[in-house]
């Protein structure tokens, strides 16, 4: 386990239409105390976790004593990443003196106020991008070791900014552009029609991102979670070489990262938490999963972790899930493992489902999904 992601707070100053944990923002639940967070960091050190990622909500829109927390991480030799909308720049600036701060991930959901604000609220583009420029300038002067990522959640509201994001990223001087695939959960489920849009337009916007990247050769990294079925479809339909973008090991739960929820439960991934799935069992601290009360290595022995790890490694649950059950790559792809433990019509591997819909509509032959009547082989 390389990374421990900690859900620092459910509170947020924004109400983004695509937010997967959006309902927490209306009535933020009590978060872990600073003492608890310090305890979690100690547990992480004991388990030789290399990196901590703070998620929210908005980590800087919380009463946590962040200098104390980052100072403790520094003393333990743990590197920290923080995800933020960068509204509260001064609170981030306070942390520049701590070498534990190594990565800042800033959410920018459009290259203009029109598209960004449509997802994140009026006035947010100006404030976030203004502060991002300030952050890059300060980083370059004081802490060149800190990496700065931008996360762009591709949705129907901003897909026409897909290529302009490259120019903005280049202009600002970031290190990595993360393109995230919007999922119909949380507030994105509530605004499903507006954020999901049509499958063809969405996939085309995604394809254009890969082509633009390969044609423009930008100085920064590109990170997009692309399962092999989607990559194969794009390669066959658009002749884009997708090998370098393909990820058969989408699910990093238990191996690359684990997750600490607001109650102090250690979970294989955020997908199993109350904040993402509203699973009432997870709205309290489970004695067997409490990282406040147990070592990480003890929790890793729990039946939840063991079952999750088996499902991820063996691909055993792919056969249960559409379109994984028809996918040519189901014997080697590890998509979203937590999706298999959820119930409800909205829970799906959304990008693969979109491609599956397009394949069915096109009537063309793609060696990606079996047809349900098995009349077409792959």
């Amino acid at each position: 386990m390389k990374t421990l992601a900690i859900y620092l707070t459910g509170a947020c100053n924004l109400r983004c239409k695509h937010c997967s944990v959006g309902f927490d923002q209306y009535r933020p639940r009590q978060a872990l105390s600073d003492d608890d967070i310090i305890r979690v960091l100690d547990r992480a050190r004991e388990r030789e976790v290399e990196f901590i990622t703070f998620l929210g909500g908005e980590p800087f829109y919380s009463p946590h004593d962040l200098p104390r927390i980052f100072g403790h991480a520094e003393a333990l030799g743990i590197n920290v990443s923080v995800n933020t909308n960068l509204f509260f720049y001064e609170r981030l600036e306070e942390l520049f003196g701590y070498t534990s701060l190594q990565n800042v991930v800033v959410s920018v959901d459009g290259a203009s106020a029109e598209s960004h604000d449509a997802m994140r609220g009026k006035g947010s583009f100006e404030r976030t991008v203004g502060n991002l420029r300030k952050l890059v300038k300060t980083r370059n002067a004081l802490r060149p070791d800190i990496t700065i990522d931008v996360t762009f959640a591709l949705s129907d509201l901003n897909r026409r900014d897909n290529l302009k994001m490259f120019r903005l990223a280049e202009d600002i001087g970031i290190d990595c552009l993360n393109v995230n695939i919007v999922q119909p959960i949380g507030r994105a489920g509530k605004f499903r029609q507006r954020v999901m849009g049509d499958d063809a337009g969405y996939i085309e916007a995604l394809v254009q991102i890969f082509i633009y990247f390969l044609a423009s050769k930008p100085a920064f990294k590109l990170s997009v979670p692309i399962p092999p079925a989607v990559a194969a479809f794009i390669n066959q339909k658009y002749a884009v070489p997708m090998e370098v973008f393909t990820n058969e090991r989408m699910c990093g739960g238990t191996s690359v990262y684990t997750y600490v929820d607001l109650m102090g439960n250690l979970l294989p991934c955020p997908g199993l938490s109350y904040e993402e799935g509203r699973n009432s069992l997870m709205n309290r601290r489970q004695s067997r999963l409490s990282i406040v009360d147990h070592k990480i290595s003890e929790i890793e022995e729990s039946s939840l972790f063991q079952a999750f790890e088996t499902a991820r490694k063996t691909h055993s649950k792919n056969a249960l899930f559409d379109p994984c059950n028809r996918c040519a790559f189901s014997d080697r792809c590890s998509p979203c493992t937590s999706a298999y433990y959820k119930t409800g019509a909205d829970l799906e591997i959304s990008l693969c489902k979109r491609v599956s819909n397009l394949v069915a509509e096109s009537g063309e032959q793609f060696s990606v999904f079996k047809q349900t009547d098995l009349s077409e082989s792959f």
Partner: protein
Amino acid sequence: MSSKTVRKLLERDPEFVAKFLTGPSSALKEYGIDPETLPEKQVHALEAMVQQTQENIRTNAKLVGVEMAKSEWGIGMGCCNDVNTRFME
């Protein structure tokens, strides 16, 4: 706009390349060309340009390096084990 102009765009404008390779007709229209009225000779020239552009893209793809697993931060914002790609030259 002539096929020469399109060639220049394909060589210099990655935005046009991205749009052209995903939707040639709409890309040409956006840049002021009505594909329905193009002479056959120019259509053939454009087809050859598409092939050359795809070849260039394939060549560039060979220069891309891959880092697995958002190797430092693991979870990113996508809750997935992303692949990071970057040009190595």
